[in-house]
Symmetry: C2
Subunit: 321 residues, 2 copies
């Protein structure tokens, strides 16, 4: 009844004439700020996976792909309705809850990335996690956007209790002083990042070989080329199988669609291309759910063969976890 009184002045029947159908405004509350927190939960058997978003970095298209014409790259961007100016490369890590433990796969940019990154910790906490209780961090490879989140620029260890585990061949490559000394100047920062992050705890680092079950249900698989020791991770729990493919591709709209294209980030382009085709073929044939570090958030879905390449089909968001 109160409502009727309140709205007694509202026009009845069909609106007509000049102006808008509803003209009366009201004092509105402050504009609510911000996006929903960037985390997404799903299950792989009994393993609870939480994708944690760490923002994005815009990448100019010029010079990004070694072996594709810029016009073709722009066409692929347009087909995916991505921006014309620059590719927003996103970063999404995984948190696993398994066997009573909290396990990270990769750690994001920390405070060392582009200004549009660095939201990882806020999203991690919004998902109900505490960095002080992380048990294990599994590192896929030593690029800064995967490891800088382990240590702040001021030297603070972000996960003080965690055992840090890394691929043995990745360690062997990047921590080799002779190789760093021989590297061209442009490549030297790539050697500096792991030294900054891992140097203070070098003796405590656990190194794993390909084929190793790093924690129960999480097996490292060789996925070389992007970097010399780059690893993917097979998750198995009950009958469920899942693959965290790490950086076998950069943005799926470009490199799942065109698996022979080589981003400048690939250390060994030919090996990376072979790895990319081999793993995409496998997950497509098995219709296996996958996570890509650089797919749009929540960065998980499936892969299907299409033409000479593949297409990435994101999962349908669901509140059921």
């Amino acid at each position: 009844m109160n409502r009727r009184t309140l709205l007694a002045a509202a026009p009845m029947a069909a609106a007509s004439g000049a102006g808008t159908a509803v003209a009366q405004g009201s004092a509105a509350p402050e504009r609510p700020a911000g996006q929903a927190p960037g985390f997404y939960r799903y299950k792989v058997g009994d393993i609870e996976v939480t994708a944690i978003h760490d923002g994005f970095a815009p990448r100019a298209l010029e010079g990004f792909i070694r072996n594709a014409d810029l016009a073709d790259v722009k066409r692929a961007m347009a087909e995916a309705f991505l921006p014309e100016a620059a590719l927003p490369i996103t970063f999404t890590t995984l948190v696993l809850r398994t066997g009573g433990r909290t396990v990270l796969i990769d750690a994001g940019n920390g405070d060392a990335g582009a200004p549009t990154t660095g939201s990882w910790m806020g999203n991690f906490r919004a998902a109900g996690f505490d960095p002080a209780t992380v048990d294990t961090v599994i590192v896929s490879h030593f690029h800064g956007d995967h490891i800088n989140g382990l240590r702040l620029k001021d030297g603070t260890a972000v996960f003080p209790k965690a055992t840090i585990t890394v691929p043995e061949p990745e360690w062997a490559f990047w921590m080799d002083d002779g190789r760093m000394a021989a590297a061209p100047d442009a490549t030297k920062p790539a050697f500096a990042a792991p030294r900054r992050v891992f140097g203070p705890i070098a003796k405590d680092i656990v190194r794993f070989e390909p084929g190793r079950e790093v924690v129960p249900g999480v097996t490292a698989l060789p996925a070389y080329g992007h970097t010399p020791g780059h690893m993917a991770f097979a998750l198995t729990s009950g009958g469920a199988r899942f693959m965290a493919v790490s950086d076998i591709t950069n943005h799926p709209a470009l490199f799942v669609r065109n698996p022979d294209w080589s981003a400048v980030f690939d250390v060994d382009a030919d090996t990376a291309r072979q790895t990319r085709r081999r793993m995409l073929d496998m997950v497509a044939a098995d219709r296996m759910q996958v996570a890509f570090y650089h797919a749009p958030f929540p960065a998980t879905g499936h892969v299907a063969k299409e033409g000479n390449g593949f297409r990435f089909v994101p999962v349908q968001w669901t509140p059921a976890t």
Copy 2:
């Protein structure tokens, strides 16, 4: 230093031998519960749009599409990596902040939907909104999943201050007593829902014709067929254009891909099919961002022609709003 002491017992160098690389566990915190809240913000010029998720309802495939073989429907489901058993139909409404006003387009299932729906109010509040301050509700059509959120089953008006605006031809059809009396029993509940929701405030309802600017920047467009007065809404602000296409399709993986398929929910299948093709052609040609009520959350993206149908390309999630 503390960290080194803590991890002194951790294995050094490459893990080898039996068991997993990292075997030691720890007392973990309680499993953090739940999914991130189901809201997503984006801009159309100066209009702030917030998509609000209202859960999903599983729909058996048998009998769902009038003019497609079940085998073809199952094939389309498999191509989209959707479940074999049933289609999860999702519900996503829009909240607009424009000109100091809070405007809803549709209101979700309220407390009258499937048990897996009803999360709308929680997501709406999580996005920083208050139902008491909603100024206007624009209704696309009178199906229960769009209007039941306006009034609880106990009769409570959910948006007590809001002006409720509805399509004039929709009102004329569903509120016609003679038409309800003549309807087959199976169709009568579709007439009951708008009477329950709108009956107590019938004289205060604002009815709009197609072509009408309902609130500044939001113009109703005829999109008949799904229901007799079903409307889409063009949003314009500055140079930005956007289309809320409401229910011109149900799930895009089925009906954007196969626009001639007719879901049983379409009141006039032929008209609905013509509307669907006309509007999909238009938004594809214009590369216009769209929102589908029944697309997977956040239910916004673009449409491109593909073969005899179209493909829906979801937006890339971004924290930037």
